[in-house]
Amino acid sequence: MLANFFLYIVQGISITIGVTLVALPAGLLLGLGFALINTYGGPWLKRLSAAYSLLMRGVPPIVLLFILYFILSGNVVNLTPFWAGSIALGIISSAYQMEILRGALLSIGGGQMTAARAVGMTRLQSIQHIILPQALRIAIPPWSNEASIVLKDSSLVYALGVPEVLRRAQQLSATTQQPMLAFGAAALIYFVLVFLVNRGLDALAEKTKLPTQTA
């Protein structure tokens, strides 16, 4: 009985991970695009990307989730709750990831671009081969933070009825009258997942760290 209870919640992990694996990379791709536009684009592209960031960071994730699912889905595009939720979280996250990457790009400084151009690289080549490899390294620690936020925010898709960890915990709590056990199990699962993600990214940061004189 108890085994079944936990098994039911644990089965939601794959969906929780699934939502995160859609939202996080989608946010990274979008965020990187907007960060590049904002850093290297003309004045209009800068304004456009800044406005996007401002708007998406100003809307609660759950509101965008509802907009995407209840308003757009069915009328404009057909989205399952899973996809509507994952995409909404990805869009919100893209604004935060844009700010993380923008800061990383700016911290590399104009000198590296100048040196790359002086060797004869185009702007695009300079960004691809010189700026990005350095900026992405710098971005790993703050990105790790964003990754755990998205992982935890994936619980919001429960509001659309997607049977991920929190949704299942809620159902069990209602049917078994054991809220402490149900939500406690959910909390533990989230904690372990976040812990693993952070540890993994710490290891990545350490592995990609550039050697210095003392190292």
Partner: protein, 254 residues
């Protein structure tokens, strides 16, 4: 008679209201080492950046190997492949080893096959005496070593002209010699070089011609001998007096 490899005609650069330099003309002949001296803020570094098209000029023309590189149809990226640049603060690519710093232009810009690019890069590193540091990252190198990698990176592209923008100004005194030593060898190999520096010893011994710039224009140019011992202009005399005062008087007495 060879025509100049690099020819600047009536260059003017203005930032907002500030005239950085005005109506500068300069011919650089093949194999010549020209040292540009002058007070800070005179536009020497900006001049180099303009020649490399890293900074656009407001008016004037620049010719490289007889072709106008300031023409609207000229490709900036192609031009920069032919002009090597060495920076005051080295500007090595921090995420790449010394070898990869020298290789990246060869493989990404010149599109050489990897083995060939590697061989050429090793040759250039050897030229600056750093083949034993090939797999070190910039963070693991001293300033002098970093600058020599910077020189190797520029040399690897087989440029027609090398521009040096105060290459030793950011170095500790004991590291200056190794960089100047490499530059001296290049000069002796008849690399065409345009060097902005405050190293008067280098200017006197290595330069074929010294150009004295002040307040955005060329005041005087000539052989080291003419400039150091028979300057035509009071301002040249004053500047040289000040700078020899600063960098040790004993040369003066010889």
């Amino acid at each position: 008679m060879d025509s100049p490899i690099l020819q600047a005609k009536n260059l003017t650069k203005i930032y907002g209201q500030n005239v950085i330099f005005q109506d500068i003309s300069l011919d650089v002949n093949r194999g010549e080492t020209i040292v540009v001296i002058g007070p800070s803020g005179t536009g020497k570094s900006t001049l180099l950046r303009c020649i490399n098209l890293l900074t656009p000029i407001n008016s004037g023309q620049i010719f490289l190997n007889g072709k106008e590189i300031t023409a609207p149809e000229a490709s900036e990226d192609k031009v920069r492949q032919q002009v090597g640049m060495v920076f005051q603060n080295f500007l090595l690519f921090n995420h790449l080893t010394a070898l990869d710093n020298v290789m990246i232009g060869l493989s990404k810009v010149k599109k050489l096959p990897k083995a060939q690019a590697r061989e050429k890069a090793l040759y250039e590193l050897n030229r600056v005496g750093l083949s034993d540091r090939a797999d070190h990252y910039p963070g693991q190198l001293s300033g002098g070593q970093q600058q020599r990698v910077g020189i190797a990176r520029a040399l690897a592209m087989d440029p027609s002209v090398m521009l040096f923008d105060e290459p030793t100004s950011a170095l500790d005194p004991e590291l200056i010699g190794e960089v100047l030593g490499v530059m001296e060898i290049l000069a002796r190999e008849h690399m065409t070089m345009l060097v902005v520096t405050h190293e008067m010893g280098f200017a006197r011994e290595v330069a074929n011609r010294i150009v004295f710039m002040e307040k955005g224009s060329i005041v005087e140019q000539g052989s080291p001998n003419d400039l150091f011992y028979h300057p035509q202009h009071e301002r040249t005399r004053e500047f040289l007096w000040k700078i020899t005062e600063l960098y040790g008087k004993k040369d003066e007495e010889e």
